[in-house]
Subunit: 262 residues, 2 copies
Amino acid sequence: MTIDKHNIVNSSYKRDKIRMKNPIVAGGKKKINCNSCHTREYCLPQSMSANDIDDVNSIVITRKSIKKGQSLIRAGSDFHSIYTVRTGFFKTSITSPSGQEHLLDFRMTGDSLGLDGIAKKVHLTDSIALEDSNVCIIQYQDIEKMSKISTVFLNHIFNLMSKELNRENYNLLMLQMNAEERLARFLQNLTQNLKIRGYSPSELLLRMTRVEIGQYLGLKLETISRTFTKLSKSGVVSINRRHLQILNLEALEKITGVTHKT
Amino acid sequence: MTIDKHNIVNSSYKRDKIRMKNPIVAGGKKKINCNSCHTREYCLPQSMSANDIDDVNSIVITRKSIKKGQSLIRAGSDFHSIYTVRTGFFKTSITSPSGQEHLLDFRMTGDSLGLDGIAKKVHLTDSIALEDSNVCIIQYQDIEKMSKISTVFLNHIFNLMSKELNRENYNLLMLQMNAEERLARFLQNLTQNLKIRGYSPSELLLRMTRVEIGQYLGLKLETISRTFTKLSKSGVVSINRRHLQILNLEALEKITGVTHKT
DNA sequence: CGAGTGATTGAAGTGGGTCAACCCTCGTGG
DNA sequence: CCACGAGGGTTGACCCACTTCAATCACTCG
């Protein structure tokens, strides 16, 4: 008997619960009220007062569904909006002139997408759904408008951009480490992010292939596979294809040298 | 007989010319008029109208001198302003928890510094002068103020942040290439940047050590040295310690696969 | 002039890449 | 309902680009 993957870990059970009390037609466009959104706590900064949230609600936000494997944003396309992931999982990537793809990041609930186009008004990175997903769309003119009205909002935008910068800095550092450290770090981050969003940090379904992990970490798929096996043999994790369990968090921290503040 | 390095290439002769008609006391703090600044063409977006420049002049800009080897910004320090390089040369870097340093970028005339602190109000990267330098200081409250008054200014800030994001994306791609490609790419960029600023793109004095180039490119200093020797032997460049000449630009472009639009 | 920092060069070692064979799982269509 | 094919994953053997270690050299600055 096979286990239905949707029953295992990440997204679906929670999503469905929400859908019941917040019945938005998938793919439909409609003015949305952020106050009742389940991603509000991640999407808007905690510091934002109730007053400011009303301001945010004065801008038009629509939603969109993206099927697994489809791209939400194509590098080179015109920029007119940014997105926030409501449900699902994305990868963002760039392709070098020579044609090789590099994976910049994975994005999940509450993360923003498309901000990199804000300067040149053209998107520079691709965003592709790794599972069926749903996003909020915020028009650029609304961002401009809100930035002028609300300092808090402006700071929110600055924060988002700054967060991306940090992620990148961090990624650069990662590329100096050896394969085991990189993978361990990747797992630490991933589970941290799941934990913050209320999912189990110790048992999860990887939404990406070995190739994609490799493109993200700057390694080949064989190396990823071998390193997983290595971590598995030393009892740090248990892995079977996409199904992963973290067995020894301390060992993981020992490898990366980073203790995650809980 | 040794050559006085200040007579060779990069910064000084130009700087001194400017000083005569724009006599700011080095290290002194004083309200500055951007209209007469020689870096205006790089510092403010070309699209900015004369009108908007008046607005920019309504904010208080001061200047500061930094001696070679000194740090302008320390990671972890409080954020209250961003900087623009007027003259000189900087490196920006982060240090991992494990203590290893990674060099993020080199910054020269017209480039901004310190933007990464805008979100958390704490600087995340170090900025250290690689030669005696001079910067403009813009207070964060002024940025907030201006962003609300002027859409053009807001876009300018977005542009700066976005530019940093691009640089990082680009750096990530670079770390997938081999040593020769990375170094060639580094030289292409460096000379491009010098050219844009009116300096000779074919003859220059490297302001950074082999170690620093290595930290930037993710390679060891010996590899940098060997690769320079290799490029030298194949007639692409001529190098003697810090003094570099690009002898064959086409060969450089062939290595990187990128033809720089002139 | 001598110490110290930065650069070059050689020799040997190694982590991850490359190539190739094979396995597992799942979806599709006969 | 089973066969088959494709995509994803694992594992082994070999190779090579870059690292590591070490010796030596070249400037520069008290």
